[in-house]
Symmetry: C2
Subunit: 162 residues, 2 copies
DNA sequence: ATTGAAACTTGATCGTT
DNA sequence: AACGATCAAGTTTCAAT
């Protein structure tokens, strides 16, 4: 992969774009070249589907880390703490959970060094007390769409009532 | 929302489609009607972006549950156990982690009843010993693309080397 | 709110370099 | 491999119901 592929991937990621035309607009790379490059990226398994989702392991983000991040209880600070966590490089998902006040954070990184940076970044936030992380060996499933679930009776009722 | 919206949403979810033409092919609903309905769904905030991702809370899946599922250690059983977890209604993400052999599972459901069903389903799998769940209060961030990260030096190097 | 047909925009292909 | 020109396919608009 070269610098041109990188520009295309960057555009897909940052603009959430999935069309050759838009990529062309953003990068200035001619439509037909974009088309050609996208095909190559597809063959390499970097771009996975029509939604231009990418295999993060194929762009160097091979380590997946799931962390529990415990925060000091402070009225209304949770959203802002959560957002600060979300801004850290590599962090893709941040959930604020009930009960013991804490965040569950999923991040994708390149190497051990970035893992250390990540944990350090979490702990450098004032309100954060403690973190505990697990490495993912395999991502068995990762779907953002509720496939199959639309057959569920309760769900169908809920939708129709809206 | 009515039965026609439901058919459109079902098609988007199960076929991972993001084009009016394809939805038309799958449902038989005329192109221009699909177009009109999609606009409405967009205004209602159900469909979020050009990738036709949907706000799960707007389709009745308002409860997010993150569970740790501990499995009996058995050689090579992990993938199959993981896949069985992934097939359970409501489950969107399944990660198999290092160390203490267990799965981290993220699910979206409609109500308390479905939460119970979910936990019961996990525990009905032979190899599974114990589960522990947390409710999500707010999803602070949920991105499948590595936005911003493409600025990271280590990552850029990793990509260019491929 | 729905639709068929028209107008327009974009995506895919192809031939040349 | 890159790309401008061409053609096929898709998306969006519009007027009628």
């Amino acid at each position: 992969m070269d610098e041109k592929d990188l520009r295309i991937l960057k555009t897909i990621a940052s603009e959430r774009i999935n069309s050759p035309e838009r990529i062309h607009e953003h990068t200035g790379i001619p439509k037909s070249t974009v088309h050609y490059r996208i095909e190559q990226l597809r063959e390499k398994g970097v771009i996975l589907n029509d939604l231009y989702e990418m295999d993060l392991s194929k762009v160097g983000l091979s380590i997946v880390l799931i962390s529990e991040v415990y925060a000091e209880y402070e009225e209304d600070y949770h959203e802002s703490v959560g957002e600060r966590i979300g801004e850290i490089e590599g962090v893709n998902q941040v959930y604020f959970t009930m009960g013991d006040t804490d965040f569950i954070v999923i991040a994708h990184v390149t190497d051990r060094r970035m893992v250390e940076d990540l944990v350090e970044s979490y702990e450098s936030i004032d309100e954060i007390r403690r973190t505990s992380s697990k490495f993912v060996i395999t991502t068995v499933k990762n779907e953002s769409h509720p496939i199959n679930d639309f057959e569920h009776e309760t769900l169908v009722e809920a939708i129709l009532e809206e």
